[in-house]
Amino acid sequence: MKETKRVKRDSDIRVDARIKVSGKARFIEDVEFANMLHGATIRSPIPHGRIASIVNLEKIRNMPGVRAVVTANDIPGENIVPFVKQDYPCLAPDEVKFHGQAVALVAAETVEEARSAARSAEFEYEEYPAVFDAVQAMKPDAVHVGGEDNVHSYFRIRKGDVDKGFREADVIVEGVFNNKHQVHCYLENQGVVAVPESGGGISVYGSMQCPFYVQNALVKVTGIRYSGIKVVQTVTGGGFGGKEDVPSILASHAALLALRTQRPVRIIYDREEDFISMSKRHPARTRVKYGATKEGKITACEAEYIVNGGAFCTLSPIVAWRGVVHISGPYDIPNVKADSYAMATNTVPCGAFRGFGQTQANFANECLMDELAEKLDMDPVELRKRNILKTGSRTSTGQVIGESCGLEETLIKAAEKINFKQHFGRDKGIRKKGMGISTTFYGVGLGAEGEYFAKAGAQVYVKEDGSVIVAIGNVEMGQGSNTVFNRICADTLGCPYESVEVLQPDTTRVPDSGPTVASRSTMVGGRAVLDAARQVCDTFRKVAADKLGVKPFDIEVDAVDSRYRCSRGEMSYFEVVNEAYRRREKVAAQGWYRVEGCTFDQETGQGNPYSVYTYSANACEVEVDTETGQVTVTKFAAAHDIGKAIHMISAEGQIQGGTVQAIGYALHENLVLENGRILNPSLTGYTVPTSLDACDVIPIIVEHPHGEGPFGAKGLGEPPMIGSAAAILNAIYDATGIRFRHTPCLPEDIVKELSKLSI
């Protein structure tokens, strides 16, 4: 059969851009229901203990505007919000494990009434000893918080013989690296509306990444069966992982209040509440050791990766797993030994954040690579070239890299773009320049540990006038996936982009499509759309062939001009649709895709954990003001092999946005906790990069297509947030001669270390 002809069309406009610039896109706060109440949450004032009672509960019930108060005793189903494990209570039963944990809920006529009622709660409690640090939580005499011996989860990699590898090495480097929390700071805070339905079911609308997770949580907490639950994602103001797990909690809370009052209930957090209670990027302590020959060939890598998962497990196992799978770096190393632990502590639970456990691991190994290059007296680009993964290399899990590995090309292009050369702290004067580099690889999708979710559905339905609706299960949250789905569908059917409308995900329209995470939308959701569109296109080919008197495989679909052609003649797409309707053909199809073949042996950590990898290299230049400690990133080139850019501007935007988040992670974003309590829950206390902190990131797109992705595309959402921090810290070393092994690396840290030098 002749393939659909795909030529670059003028496709640089996102499908959702127009409505968003008009100010009319409906985010959750713009969705109104008649008779709607507002919910607020009563939260634990202590990090660990037993809440005996809320002493003024009766008074709260009678406060102005209050219509309901709900506690753990009022939950009709099970008191569990299900994530990887079943340990997170929807409302604290009596024991609380972190400061800010939800204890009870209030619904009132106005937001102010609900919040002031919630704020007035007074508790009778008994406080328990608490543990806040992951390494402390490992000690045998540590307070027990969760899991077995406070371990939420443990994974390991054993490849070859590291002792032998280190014996063969001429040079050994080792370091311990620390990262603090990072907060998503999506601009739109968390929010949902729950609406009780007349048949006893419930509908939930909200800002979210994973409608099917929300659905599962609602079934569990309300006891309503699946068919009675409907979850619809509204236009979502950023997620970055932060709307993966948490919306399940908000949705269950709103649903409890809605069922109780039989009125729609909206819960939207204010920024402070969002900061205090939402999941974060895990703080981490990482020890890495590399051994290499004089020639710069790495012979062994040993690593220990400890992340602070907080009070409940949520997604920590997958974070710890992804971290350990990638921790030795994108290198072909014969001997690897790595262990990772996600620990339970009395801090706010950590969950998913763009990079998903790789950000911290990569920070450690890529900073250490720089130290190795220095010890070998070798250029850091050259050292990487001698070790990076290529087609045919083996990863730390023993996986053979197959097709589509553009790592070397990304490395060369990123370095070239900024004329990478080291300054070795030689700049005179107060402001010193330096350059740094890093490389990464990223297993796309959920991999072997998340295979259960590794599926997606889609429906393509062509209407009589040729307009098309696409129903999907993976969400648009700003990353551009609806545009990608639009392109895949239009290019397959051979219709204009404008004809295709991608609907908001709705759990009643599409089968469970797993979560929208791990940069999987394009690859997995895209394949489902492709599957559905192909089925309809096959029908159209038959119709056109019949009409034109040829065989279906003689028809060439020209997506650029929207025509079905053969040597005997041609029809426009719209004529074909017309004809299909006249013949009463089936013009809708369900698409499905599931990822298969991922493996991981729990004992040895060997296998093929992911089927596809994205490869990246970052090169940057910084300027360090040695008086103030201020670091300015002056140049940043980010090269990513993403297989194929389906929508170039979105791909560039993902790279630029992710990289600037990483600049914040490396240099600015400092969450301060004291005894498990967050001291700076605001955007002035915790500063994310503004336009003055960011530089113009130069995106470099490298395309080594992969057969499994639609049109060869791999995933892109997360990689920009993975390698960048190490490149920046390596550049700071190059400028100043000081190695910092932590993030955020703040001006005061730099001033302090520089002052030691000058003594």
Binding site: I13, N189, Q656, L683
Partner: protein, 156 residues
Amino acid sequence: MKINFILNDNIVNIDIRPDKPLLRMLREDLGIKSVKEGCGRGECGSCTVLVDNKPVASCMVPAGQVHTRKVTTLEGLESSGEIKQIQDAFVKSGAVQCGFCTPGFMISAYSLLTGNPNPEREEIRAAVSGNVCRCTGYTKIIDAIELAAEYIRRFK
């Protein structure tokens, strides 16, 4: 308290708690939904509106203070040629991802470009430094404002 002011060229008379933030009054009492709350504390710029043609964070302005003044939001600029050019430039440049920050950025851009039709890139950076965007990394937003300036110059 009864106040009157001009909202997007219409006179509004309203009875309101004078300390209610302008943002909440616009959204809850006057149906103006392009104005977004990202923080409610003057930290993010997603609620930016024009008061007497100057960009301000509407979450920080008590409603009582706009009495007898002129408040302009995206809704009120719909007929303005400039905002149309800014919108086109944002769309064309890929300056919109999640879109939550977008109305605020466009108001700041509008205010900049009506005063300075030919700004340098650094001037644009400074003009939008009170607007936080967590998605784009700013490059494409600044590209868009440069492009909008060009469109507006051409259009005049």
